[in-house]
């Protein structure tokens, strides 16, 4: 026999269980009868239902961003379509990856990103292009497709730089090129060779430019090299410590102009800071 003189708190728990579909059939019948005969219970139940509607309208289930799916693919070796892409186990990776290993991992990462996009691009068939460049181009394309090119949105380099500093081990060179017509859009973290690297996004008229900064590795290319990958202009160069890859859908000569502006500004900024050990 159910006690009729139940505590108000118990009433609330019962109303809530009815709302949540957690009562059995006889419990549902019992509660519905009580609501029908008790205006106060009816008002509370109406409020609970109104709250549910408000929460479902204001706080829908979120969708995991593509950027997160790419990071998980890089960290686990499982692309988001479920393909195993066989990364070296992070725990077994030597502290300093050899150049050969770097290329293998970058190729695997490119495969993961391409699989992720579901884009049937036959990138890995030719060895004419640098694997790192492919990964950076794929990240640039992913940003254009998803419309979410940056993780931190700011035209202020003093916002973007510290944000990146909290995410990646490299100190990022961020320069203000607004005077030359390149507006800083923000920054994001890309995964290249299983490691997070900073990418800046600049806008020039309707074109976007992704600029990724990487550890230099063993190759030094003080003069810039140009490529076209998947219809994108790619320029890469390196300095004493870093390698840079710029990608854009701008015509190659215009990307060259951007690179020249960036290198000038980066060099003059470096003069303001203590010189790096040669």
């Amino acid at each position: 026999m159910i006690a009729r003189e139940s505590h108000p708190d118990d009433d609330l728990l019962m109303l809530q269980a009815l709302l949540d579909g957690e009562l059995d059939a006889s419990g549902v019948i019992d509660m519905e009868r009580r609501i029908a005969s008790d205006p106060r219970l009816a008002a509370d139940y109406a409020r609970l239902r109104a709250l549910r509607g408000a929460i479902q309208g204001g706080a829908p289930r979120e969708t995991a961003p593509d950027n997160l799916r790419a990071r998980i693919a890089a960290a686990t070796g499982v692309a988001s379509n479920g393909n195993v892409v066989r990364f070296p186990d992070p725990a077994q990776r030597p502290a300093a990856a050899s150049p050969t290993r770097w290329r293998t991992v970058a190729a695997a990462m490119a495969a993961a990103v391409v699989a992720l996009l579901g884009v049937n691009v036959y990138l890995l068939s030719s060895s004419a292009f640098d694997d790192v460049e492919r990964v950076v181009v794929a990240a640039h394309e992913r940003g254009l497709i998803s419309g979410q090119q940056v993780d931190v949105v700011s035209t202020d380099r003093h916002t973007v730089k510290p944000w990146l500093a909290g995410k990646v081990p490299l100190a990022t060179t961020v320069v203000d090129l607004a005077a030359e017509g390149y507006t800083l859009v923000g920054g994001r973290v890309d995964i290249v060779a299983d490691a997070p690297v900073p990418t800046l996004v600049y806008r020039h008229r309707e074109h976007f430019i992704s600029l990724t900064e990487l550890p230099r590795g063993s190759v030094r290319m003080s003069s810039a090299t140009r490529d076209t990958i998947g219809g994108h202009a790619v320029v890469t160069w390196s300095d004493n410590v870093r390698r840079y890859v710029a990608v854009s859908d701008m015509p190659p000569p215009e990307l060259d102009n951007f690179v020249a502006s960036f290198r000038r500004a980066a060099a003059s900024e470096r003069e303001d800071t203590p010189p790096a050990k040669k």
């Binding site: 809530q16 109104a50 408000a54 997160l68």
Partner: protein, 175 residues
Amino acid sequence: MTTDAARSRFAEIVLPHLDDAYTLARWMTGSASDAEDVVQDACVRALRALETTAVERPRSWLLAIVRNTALTWMAKNRPSNVTSTDAEEGMADLPELTDPSPSPEEAVIARADHGSVRAAIAALPQAFREAIVMREVNGLSYKEIAETSGIPIGTVMSRLARARIMLMNTLGRPA
């Protein structure tokens, strides 16, 4: 060493529930970029666990890992946001709905704009916030919430009731 067997179990067990994982992490940490860090870390833990663990209910299992990762992560990186709800718990303390008479409150709650709803959820104490998000946003049953949070079903019910009373009192107040 991660085996391909674990990786294919990961694809089957974890990947279908990434949206739920991200949603929970988003509400627990209060930030999109923190949520990404937490979910990535949780996925790495999940992959490691799949070498040896058999999983019966994938979603609750993954969300339990996400929840633990989020709590650990916040204790380390956002210590000021982690509050104990021990003192706030218990059925004896359940506050009553503020207005016992039939009132226009229901209509006020129903009209609450999205921003106010999100702000009200974000302002809830951690334990109540995660319970209401698991129920209303992730759509978990009481039993699944109990499993995910490692608490008895009675505690799930009282946390949900507390969360709902707080939200109704916040949103039902005429602006």
